[in-house]
Amino acid sequence: MKTQTIVQRIRALAAGGALAFLLVACASVDEDAVLESPAAAAAPPPEAGTAGNPAPAASNEGGELQPIHAGETRQQGAGNADEIIVTGNRIRRDDFQSTNATVTVNAEDMKNLGIVSVAEMVNQLPDNVAEQVSGPGTDSSFNPGESIANLRGLNADEGSRSLVLVDSSRALESDASGNVDQNMIPTALAGRIEPVTGGASETYAADAMNGVVNVITEEQAQRRRQQAEAPVPAAAPSQPGLGGAGSGGNAGGRAFVAGNAAFAQQVADGSNTRSPLSRVAPGEELWIISQPAADEMMAAVAEDALGPGVMIARFIPVVFPDQPAPTFYREIPLPLKHTDVNARVEGYVGTVDVTQQFENPYSEKIEAIYMFPLPEKAAVSEFVMTIGERRIRGILRGKEEAQQIYSQARAQGYQASLLTQHRPNVFEQKVANIEPGKAIDINIRYYETLAYQDGWYSFVFPTVVGPRYNPAGSPDPLHAVPQWNNRPTPDGAAVRYLTPGMTTSHDISIAVELDPGVAIEEIDSSHELETRWRNDDVVRVSLRDGATLPNKDFRLNFRVAGETIKSNLLTYVDEESGEGYFTLMLYPPAGLEALRRQPLELVFVLDCSGSMNGAPLAQAKAAILAALDRLEPNDSFQIIRFSNSSSQLGPRPVAATPENILLARNYLYGLNSEGGTEMITGIRAALGFPADAERLRFVTFLTDGFIGNEAQILDEIDRRLGSARIFSFGVGASPNRYLLERMAGIGRGAVAYLSLQDSGRMVMDAFFERISHPAMLDVEIDYGSMAVTDVFPSRLPDLFVGRPVVVTGKFTGRAGDVELEGRAGGERVAVTLDHEGNSPEHNFLPNLWARLKIAELEDRLAVDPNSAYSIAAEIRQTAINYELMSDYTSFVAVDASTITEGRTGTTVYQAVPVPEGVRYETAVER
């Protein structure tokens, strides 16, 4: 006879979802006196198949018991082993001794009763009031038809307060109210179902007030799962595949996949009717993805049809072996199957083709909506919708007109697509009337210039939009909402995020051909790569298998040979229009590196909002700690943190003495992350005190930039900047690069990125290397015989060592020698630039110039709202003239050849994972 300690029992309870326990007595007890599971801990097992009327599991006979609160201790004599009380929240609980009618059922009972689903079995329990979500009128648009445990029959609209466990672990919630759809639980794996009601259930968790349903999977399944989780010998390659009904299989040693053919027991109107279920094949699940009107639903049932918003799709619960406890993951059937990125870099200009492959996994037509990122400098100039062999080039139109065309086409049943921009780096793809099983590809082409720093070029492709925080009153919010929120967000766009435990089949492939024109000496990447060299100058890299999860930016850095980067001038003249375009790469003169810098006033502004929780905040802290080590005695510094509000190390910057640095270290150690991202409070704190005439003020922002009010931030910086310079550090796997770049641009500084894999010290060392030499200030350009107009950026930044600046504009006249002048170390410095000549190879210049002009106008729009109308008109005209995406233009494509069958497709939002390192719980709106 085995014995277990109460400590072990309590740990088991805690693993099953209990929030807080206070152990008052610890003793060894006989297994017969303590039941097998948390459910059984509340009541003894009744006779099989009967509603028992059991005696209490443990007795408190023998005297008055007092709880021990946190921090107290008490010696417990061995003779009091049977006096055990478990408490929560400092309130004495002896409800374990209360009497409740309890039934547990096992697989044999279910078989004898002819019950084939967990949900149906729970509905038969005497404590439970059957709760099934109907289609209309609920707030759970994704979940009509779900079956919820409701052990005391309370209103389940805001959560039934009935906790559902699988093998004593919390099952995944499936709707906004925190309910668990019991249809998710593979029936054939259910060995036993144990309910807990009465006061004991409250000790499991706050949401277990009404009771607990614990589904214990059968032992055979447990054994199979353990086998699947064991390491797979390299000599014995496993066979990926899916298990059959009620069984498990090993998927390449990476996951245990449990297939189940007994799903889809319910229909959305709450009745068990024959029609929809007759359409469900083994291995498929009935999915309801919208809220049809009641009459439509009833009509559909009468017509033996599924009805609008009701669809059939495959469902694959998977268990990943690296989890501490087996957890069922749902692979959500969503329409975006794959993203293919094919890029070619010539010189420092990238041409990138992105293909999004949509496919309808449901049994009815859909409209797919996908929010995705592109680089903030991308000049999106081509848009093609591919249906089979037919390729339809989209037309660039004004945003409202394009939206109207798309809506009309969708309403009439035509396949159509619409690409709109919500931020310079956030786009929305809509694809209408995708028929069941059919595919539509969307091809997007854009151009961009690569960033260059300290000998390295950087190609970046973002794969996911980070969840943004929207301060109250944000005029154009970008919401971050859970996947199950299928309702439109009328006040702004929204990105849907997969809840923890959910996954999709969407993966990404990236291939980049690098041809910088000189030898490539070194390559570094955020992802594992396959490389294929064509010669010393040209290499093709692609993502390795297994590195295809789109949850962090793809970054490809490459270092080119020797001293080949120098200031130069490229020009292009459009033969048709006669317009000339130029771009200058301004590189700081080499002599600057020999000069010492002047004293600095460094202000570190640290984002401590919820999205920075965990690894991102730790990275940012490490970077600041490294920076503190690099300060010199004449420097001063300040540390400011912000989330919902801001606070700082001291009322004003302090001298960089060892004592103050120690104080700063302790201050940093004590900082945690929680709350919103009220960055404006941080900006005001950082730029709102008088300038120090002795020191050059550098304000460094360390943030993921996950905010939705970028325009307000940029406006605030522009108004308060003064003589300061801003250096922004993008922290995390997928920072908001648009905001960070523009902050640094307006702040005449530079941007750097600190991924979760980077060394904070190395990144900060590179930063100090840059600012440890005097920058070339007050830069002026003498264009010689060129008459230039529309030059961007209009406000020239300082030139820091290792960091060139690209200037682009239009010109007339003869392109010749250009001279760069500035001030460095108190002296006048002049450099003459080489002219590489006019070349048709530089035909990308008009597009790049137009993209920069639009970016500059967008900045002006942020800081000059009174001129919004004229600026918007100028952006729109520039975008149309150069066929570029913008905030005021969209690409639309309609296949007007065929009207698809049936009603307008149901809208399905493509949910995405939160970026690597970001905690869903602290970043996504609830």
Binding site: E346, R391, R393, A409, Q412, E576, A893, T898, I899, E901
Partner: protein, 169 residues
């Protein structure tokens, strides 16, 4: 090295110059075809306009302008032609829209394929997808601006359009 880059860039350059270049590289078109079609209309509907070029010799490049005189047309897509030589998506120039005139679109494409792969005779070079609005019957006009062979010489070709409103599957 430089030659390699130039060769690699050629495709991109050629695409960028397709619209502009053909206007200068090709001689005056031998035949400018105009076609018009009338049909009854409802408020908003969608239709396709298949553009056919009938060429006596292998067709390597073409350019046409489609316009609608009443202002009821909006172009909503340009589709590739039926020949494998023009499997890519044609390029368009929509300046007229930005300038506020009645909707018109200039569409062009070219092929660098072998002569044997180029279409001869009547071939659908593109399909223009349009939205039609208003009660007034639209009046389409098609002008074949240029048609050329692989040597860049003008071809004495003709062009016609066929209009089809969207059909149910």
């Amino acid at each position: 090295m430089r030659h390699t880059r130039i060769a690699a860039l050629f495709g991109v350059v050629a695409l960028g110059l397709a619209l502009a270049g053909m206007r200068f590289a090709l001689a005056q078109p031998g035949l400018a075809a105009e076609s018009a079609a009338r049909f009854t209309s409802s408020d908003v509907r969608f239709a396709t306009i298949d553009v056919y070029v009938d060429s006596p010799e292998p067709l390597a490049a073409w350019q046409f302008e489609l316009r609608e005189a009443t202002g009821s047309m909006a172009v909503v897509g340009v589709e590739n032609g039926e020949s494998a030589a023009f499997a890519g998506t044609p390029h368009y120039d929509l300046d007229a829209v930005a300038q506020g005139r009645a909707e018109r679109i200039i569409v062009a494409d070219y092929s660098l394929g072998e002569r044997a792969t180029l279409p001869v005779g009547r071939t659908r070079v593109a399909t223009v997808h349009v939205r039609l609005m208003g009660a007034q019957a639209p009046e389409f006009q098609l002008q074949l601006i240029a048609a050329g062979n692989a040597a860049g010489e003008a071809i004495d070709a003709a062009a016609v359009i066929e209009l089809q409103e969207g059909r149910a599957e």
